[in-house]
């Protein structure tokens, strides 16, 4: 499978004042294959979210190259190939569940009620279509965000600690939900998290970052061929991966 995303020597400077600037990210390079799930993990302040925002095109002015299928990310974003789930769900409070999920279509000036209905069914939101985000629990809100992220069948989904504010059980069930969706839709996913267990469970590859400035410390392939369900968490291969990532993270923190 070819590379969906290629990052080469990506650095990001922050302007402190008119004279001084601070290096936020330094020479970050890695690739994400099409259909792969890559988790980015690292201590707080190592630039995980900055990196995700650079890839999403939210932040500009970086050094190095970020290419999506060989082209600049802006083009893919404008073509509606990207979708995004923010930590706080990013749902518009004035829109119902159905209207929030239909937003990607609306931005392209099209309407696809069937796709919206299918998405609602896929993430188990039937019956909540007319609810406003303020009427939903945190877990349901993230489900809406998930439905919106997949509704227009985007090629690339960016997730910024999407389940971090949820309790352990809800997070676990949403991780499983995400894996079920991925097995059906095969989208490329870049997932920022600070939870080692979550990173190992969902990803094919884990990019471990260290800071400051944020750099790639190591890249670990999980090689978990097992179907991603809760049974996996009691397998030996999962445990070995968990220990491996934890060791790497400890090294990063001790450095």
């Amino acid at each position: 499978m070819g590379n969906a995303l290629e990052l080469k020597n990506v650095s990001k400077f922050y302007k402190l004042n008119s004279k001084d600037k601070e290096l936020g990210l330094k020479d970050v390079s890695f690739n994400v294959k099409a259909g792969e799930i890559v988790a980015i993990i690292g201590p707080s302040g190592c630039g995980k979210t900055t990196l995700l925002k650079l890839i999403a095109g939210i932040l500009e002015n970086h050094e190095g190259s970020i290419l999506y299928r060989g082209e600049k990310v802006d083009k893919a974003r404008q073509d509606g190939q990207f979708s995004y789930i923010a930590q706080d769900s990013g749902l518009l409070p004035n829109r119902t569940v159905r209207q929030n999920i239909g937003l990607p279509f609306e931005l392209c000036n099209v309407s696809d009620e069937r796709a919206v209905a299918k998405s609602i069914k896929l993430v188990g939101l039937k019956g909540f279509e007319k609810f406003f985000p303020s009427e939903l629990s945190g877990g349901l809100r993230q489900r809406v965000a998930l439905a919106r992220a997949i509704v227009s069948n985007p090629k690339f989904v960016l997730m910024d600690e999407p389940f971090s504010s949820l309790d352990e059980f809800t997070r676990e069930s949403l991780d499983v939900e995400l894996m079920n969706l991925h097995s059906k839709l095969k989208q490329t996913i870049l997932f920022v998290t600070h939870n080692v267990e979550e990173a190992v469970f969902i990803s094919d590859k884990i990019v471990i970052m260290r800071g400051t400035p944020g750099q790639v410390a190591s890249i670990i392939k999980t090689n978990l061929n097992h179907e991603r369900n809760l049974k996996l968490k009691s397998s030996k291969s999962f445990y070995n991966n968990l220990i491996k990532v934890q060791k790497e993270l400890r090294k990063v923190i001790e450095c």
């Binding site: 931005l107 303020s134 960016l158």
Partner: protein
């Protein structure tokens, strides 16, 4: 619920009764002393009621002029406030120019501003009166709506952006809908303000309207008519403002 309504009504009735009683008793003393009764300056609640009953038609017809002007001023003020606020958010350079000017003009006392408008556009002209009303209605709308547009959550804007939203789409799908509660709140200030503006404009010079009726009542020493006119316009203004509050609940059901 009944208590919530009954207690204020009871308090108002008590106050009116006290006002009536005190004034009647005071007038008796003043008549004995050979002095003018207070009634010549401050009417009793019963006098106001009688005036309302007798002169209700006149007050209503004059109110029609005032409300017509206020309504035109109110709608134009909203349109102007919304339009300028959108431009300031969309074009930062425009914002840098318009915001300080708007805040400066808003700080200018309207009592001093109104005569300037009348001097410029002519006494007794409908345009002068409506213009005063527009100016007064514009500021709360502009300031509040602009604040609402600017305070849309960064995360929501970023999410829409990644989904491929253009700058205009971010404005129309994210910023504007989220600023609607601010706009509706500002209308509760702008509506009575536009009525005040129209009344003030008429008071400074007009052939009709509540403002002109107040001037006549003042110079003809008819305090009953003066109070009845003021009370009527206040009541209409209050009813309209409360209706706007209800409208807010209907338009923004998501804002709880």
């Amino acid at each position: 619920m009944l208590k919530k309504i009954l207690i204020p009504i009871f308090a108002i009735v008590c106050l009116l009764a006290l006002w009536q009683f005190t004034e009647v008793e005071n007038s008796k003393v003043r008549i004995k002393e050979g002095r003018t009764t207070l009634e010549a300056f401050v009417p009793t609640p019963i006098t106001i009621y009688e005036t309302l009953r007798k002169e209700g038609g006149l007050i209503a017809s004059q109110m029609g002029f005032t409300l017509g002007r206020a309504l035109i001023g109110f709608i134009s003020g909203i349109a102007l406030g919304v339009f300028v606020a959108i431009l300031t958010v969309r074009f930062p350079l425009f914002r840098r120019v318009v915001l300080p000017i708007s805040l400066g003009v808003n700080s200018f006392p309207i009592v001093g501003f109104a005569p300037l408008i009348i001097l410029a556009f002519g006494q007794g002209s409908n345009f002068s009166i409506i213009f005063i009303s527009i100016i007064i209605a514009y500021f709360p709308v502009f300031i509040s709506f602009e604040h609402g547009l600017m305070s849309a959550e960064k995360g929501l804007i970023e999410t829409a952006y990644v989904f491929g939203a253009s700058k205009w789409q971010i404005l129309s799908k994210v910023r504007i809908p989220l600023a609607i509660p601010n706009l509706l709140n500002s209308l509760k200030l702008a509506l009575p303000a536009s009525i005040i503006g129209a009344t003030m404009g008429e008071w400074l010079g007009s052939k009709n309207g509540i403002g002109q009726l107040i001037t006549i009542a003042l110079y003809q020493l008819r305090p009953g008519l003066l109070y009845a006119s003021l009370l009527s316009i206040t009541a209409v203004s209050l009813i309209l403002t409360f209706s706007l509050g209800y409208l807010t609940k209907v338009i923004v059901p998501w804002k709880k």
